[in-house]
Amino acid sequence: MDGHAGHGPDPTTLLVLLVAVPAVVGYLVAVRGEAGRRSWPPGRTACWLAGVAAVVAGTTGPLAAAAHTDFRAHAVAHVLVGMLGPLLLVLGAPVTLALRALPVAGARRLSGVLRSRPLRLLTEPAVAVVLDLGGLWLLYRTPLLGWTHTAPAVHLAVHLHLVLAGYLLAAVLVGRDPLPHRRSHRHRAVALVVALAAHGILAKTLWAEPPAAVDAATAQAGAVVMYYAGDVVEVAMAVLLCRRWFAGPGARPRVRAAALPTG
């Protein structure tokens, strides 16, 4: 995180910050704008900031540098960028915030996008699972991982895919944001189990057969990190999913009826 000096940080860091800084600033500005009207739950802001921090920590700085040479660091970065970060971002409910903060025309456009056909296909749980887990299998079971260390563009594309696919999966399965065509809880529960099973199986095969150019001991340590981090994230997502599934008559959404605008 040094200044924008002539030689400056490497292009990846710059690009990450180019996305991360507006993400934080924009979110905070929108929350401030809400302050006069309805309060925005601070927990959501905290989740959003933590999510951005997790993604930044996994893609820049010492951890990212170590990840190029050490598969254990790579596994930690992978968990931050592909699982924990996106889940926290989803819990920040950015779409809900945007719908509130945008002027009516913009909000209408956004809700039009939410209801569009492509997004309907994209937010199908099966599609989200294949995009996220399929991407991982490709990364670790093809020469792709090696290319990320030699070609910065590939490296960037892979990280982008990790974040986006992770976000998509978390949003579809446990998101708080409005999502037309959301599948039933039962459907999403099955998708969650399939996704995490695929993740666990991939971690175990990495333990047995290291990806190209990774020595066995390091690969095993990294695979164990991946495997158990996957469990932690699964339990968190299961809790988020079941909390609403089994919500009783006493449970109410955070929006009070009194706060509803009419019309």
């Binding site: 809700s111 039933s184 666990g200 609403r244």
Partner: protein, 196 residues
């Protein structure tokens, strides 16, 4: 398959605008603040309390068995390997799926348990019976199908396996039998009174 408003639906969050095109039957925006997950609750309250208690227990039992297997035998005793490479793919997939199912089952089962308690519908004997049967069933599946049939890791390495296999599966059967016996102690008349 229809979506339903399981979370605070979008209307209260949005400025007035185009009609919300949520493709579901039933009331539109005006009832936005009714309780969440109404349709699933309706479906669930359709389950008699005794049966709901039973299945909630089974879910937690499966999760507990998976958890004990993982922590005690993999991590504390190091009897099983993390993955011993000799496992064919079918065993690996089965193990992966059941590992994921176990975690989800325990969370879902506990939430269900809490919901039943909140509605004073928990039938304790059924729940405990389900817990034991779920634990036993998972252990029996693990000990027969996964260990033997699919050739997943063994219970232990470099020892005579037979006593271990026998003990493992006999314990599982004992749990199953105990669970059925406990569940049958619920001898209440059909219209379910207050549970617990």
């Amino acid at each position: 398959m229809t979506g339903y408003p399981d979370r605070h639906p979008s209307p209260p969050e949005e400025p007035p605008r185009a009609p919300n095109a949520r493709p579901r039957p039933g009331p539109a925006l005006s009832t936005a603040a009714h309780g969440p997950a109404r349709s699933s609750r309706d479906r669930r309250t359709g389950t008699p309390p005794a049966r709901a208690s039973w299945w909630s227990g089974v879910l937690v039992g499966v999760g507990v068995a998976a958890f004990v297997d993982e922590t005690v035998f993999h991590q504390l005793l190091h009897w099983h390997h993390f993955y011993d490479r000799s496992t064919p793919e079918a065993g690996l997939v089965s193990d992966g799926v059941f590992h994921a199912v176990g975690w989800f089952a325990v969370v879902a089962g506990l939430f269900w348990f809490a919901a039943l308690r909140r509605r004073a519908e928990l039938v304790t004997a059924r729940w405990v019976g389900g817990l034991l049967v779920g634990t036993g069933a998972f252990q029996l599946y693990d000990g027969t199908v996964q260990h033997k049939l699919l050739g997943l890791h063994q219970i232990r390495y470099d020892v005579a396996l037979l006593p271990y296999d026998l003990t493992w599966n006999l314990v599982a059967v004992a749990l199953l039998v105990a669970g059925v016996l406990v569940a049958r102690r619920d001898r209440r008349p059909a219209p379910a009174g207050p549970g617990s």
